[in-house]
Amino acid sequence: MGYPHPSHPREAPVLSKFFGDAEARTLDGWRQRGGYEALQKAVAMDPQEIQTIVKDSGLRGRGGAGFPTGMKWSFMKPDGKTHYLCCNADESEPGTFKDREIMRWTPHGLVEGVALGAHAIYAETAYIYIRGEFTEPFARVSKAVEEAYAAGILGANAMGSGKRIDVHVHRGAGAYICGEETALMNSLEGRRGNPRIKPPFPAVAGLFGKPTTINNVETLTTVPYIVKNGAEWYKQFGRPDNPKSIGTKLFSVCGNITRPGNYEVPLGFPFKEFLYDLCGGPLPGREIKAVIPGGSSVPILTREEAEGAIMDYEGMVASGTMLGSGGVIVFDDRQCMVRQIARLTRFYAHESCAQCSQCREGTAWITRIMERIRDGQGTSEDLDTLLSIADNMSGKTICVLSDSCATPVVSGLKKFRHEFEAKIAANPSKVTVPGAFRASAA
């Protein structure tokens, strides 16, 4: 539901059904709402059977990449090795706040999903890596884990199955890059949160060098519903002409919109109706200018493009962007896109882990140029330079932070070039005046 707003009839509340319901946070309350039935059922099942159900359901990773969850799990074989499950609760993508609400309102739903996932990949130990700034979600999830241990849901004899399932909650120190799966593992191991070179992939050598599966909060929280109701039940969500995108998805909406919040809709939902009916459209007297549909790392859409987009993995790609994490950022006609994009690049320049040359230097360079244009000191050559830097930064680094910084610049320049040019035209001297000395881009 569109917490904090009342649920819209066109929403499909599965994960968000109990948002705002304080009783669902407690173990008893969660049990009364059908909680832990799926886990009870799952611990009696063969892990491979669970993997098959999840594979059949068509569930894809909700963290942004959209990798089929069942296939990811099927990389984990009963090979007698120590396996780990990591739950990525480091939700840091600007514009995204869906996992936060899951953890605030239904922490037991996550614990259940994590325990179920651990069992399904032959792991005895799972880690929930929570973003450092998430103080309330951290408290809620920690409490839920505590309650689950006390009730025998977790521990040496999880749900009386005779199997050991341990869940540890780890709080990060607040770095965007620690949401990258291998950086998260480094951070969990006590190292600097730098992404690792792949291969080896986590399924081969992940956390502490052991085969590891890492899933997003939303993904793991969804699994118990699938196990409980079956893969066929889950397939009802989605548009009939696209079997590749199945299920419900939480979208976090923020920016210049009447009703910002979290909305859960079936994949395949028309973006125009989502923006105008569910979210109430722009504020009175305003017009939507641009939308970032999937977190700050995906290409920006113009209003026209957004209104024609369909909210699933393939639909967004068809519109030239990505579904990403489902963080929808809306800009109305008051916004200066140069300023908005400069703010985004500054974020990436601040968060670059500094490993790869292109990212370390490129994110900061782009930011300096963007801010110079924003401040009316741009020159016409800057636009070509920006595109050239963005090109040199894309597809050449260990992780995609570098690409993520280049993306809004490239799509912004493509779609809102006139705003850049207007800023540059307003530069009275038409030449670069080097800015005041700045020790850092931070």
């Binding site: 882990c353 500094a354 040359s357 292109q358 140029i369 040199n392 050449k396 260990i398 080097p434 931070a442």
Partner: protein, 523 residues
Amino acid sequence: MADVKMVSLTIEGRPVTVPDGMSILEAAKTAGVLVPHYCYHPGLPVAGVCRMCLVEVEKMPKLAPACATTVMEGQVVHVHSPKALEARKGVLEFLLINHPLDCPICDQAGECELQDYTFAEGRADSRYREPKRFNPVEDFGGDVLYVANRCILCTRCVRFMGDVVQEPVLNVSERGDRAFIGKAEGHDLTNPWAGNVVDLCPVGALLSKDFLNKARAWELDRGATICTGCSQGCNAVAELRDNVPVRLKPRPNEAVNQYYMCEVGRQTYREFARRDRADQPLVRLGSSLQVSEWDLAINAAVQAMAGKRLVVLASPNLSNEALFLLERLISRQSGHGVFRVVRGETVALAGAPDLALREERAANTTGARLFGFAETSSLEAVVGAGDALLVVGDALDGVAESALAKLGALVFVGTTVPLVVSASASVVLPITNTLEEEGTFTNLRGRVQRYLQARMAPGVARPSWFVLTDLLAAAGGAAPFQLPGDVFAALAAVHPSFAGLDYEALGMRGLPVITADHAEATV
């Protein structure tokens, strides 16, 4: 050796076959193709962060880092394709935007990989219009200075201290373009092996304080040598400016010192740069030593030693050739040979197998023992009244004049003339130091390694093997040696330990001797 699966691929149109699991970068080396790189170093774990070694591999969607991509059967790799060149040009531009471009005052200039690759493949101009990042210079302790503005964050130094020295003193601090190499609070780069970060640094960010502003790289003459700092026998390069040694750097040898050299070894260049050298033969006339001719001095030395019991005090930094000639001299005159060696604490380089600063601080103690010299700590205990003492290479540090008073004769062959010698020697013969001659040392694992002449000798000083050949001949022995290789051939012919070794075949990496003691080293 276990069977290793071999993989065939094509790099820059050249077919190569290499063991499975090798990186494209290493495979390219075997094809004679250099893939430009910064963070990769064969002695360190792969980081894959500089992104300089991106190459185009057919059928791969993106450019691949050659250091972190293993070879595959049938791969076709393009190192110098337009796409790869464009990517490297981009990296070079990124590395230079915040770089101060202060090559004219940078010690690394001339041997800087940033300079080299920029000249080869970089942009001719800069598109950077913004203020540059600035960080102050930091003293890292030990011999190391950190010039953060020149740093490209390749992390070679961090990985060396963490994985090889295993003292993780260095780290990457901060993020983004504010990042710099940080040093753990309260720790300095005082480990004797820490100085290697200066050599590992591909740019001018880590500098040797000792070498700071002493010379430009292009002014230096270089010669291959063996470090005389201890019995490890690290392969080294002596670098000289106007015939003055200014530094020693490691010369890679997987079997001995990998890519490294310790601070004690590096500092030995100072001994070779001494200016108070013996450069003329001296013969005692009455109470003073007078300059003489070589022939006269050699004859005077033989006469002084004639008819007496001969004790030879040899330096364990003498070559195998000199020690062999001394052994022959001793055998003609019923004497015996001893050596003194300075000892110190062993400091292992934790991450490198069998590499340490050794207890015995001389290059050829193993050779000295093989040629029958016994270690002594007290000269007085081994010389009797009326003996002839032939000192070769030992500077008689700590030997009192009184200890030499009972001698029948003192013949001093050395690189300097100590005070006790000018008071009591009959003859002084000037010899060259290690940098001024060629020869071989035997390290503590029994590896025989050659060193070459890197420097001109002072005055008329002659190599020790040359002087000792003359002494042996003047004393009536057979010594038909024209070159150090001749001496080596003779010693290899008679000494079982050196059997089968050939001077030329030793090459610049050396070969192990065959002895029971060192049998394990020959495997």
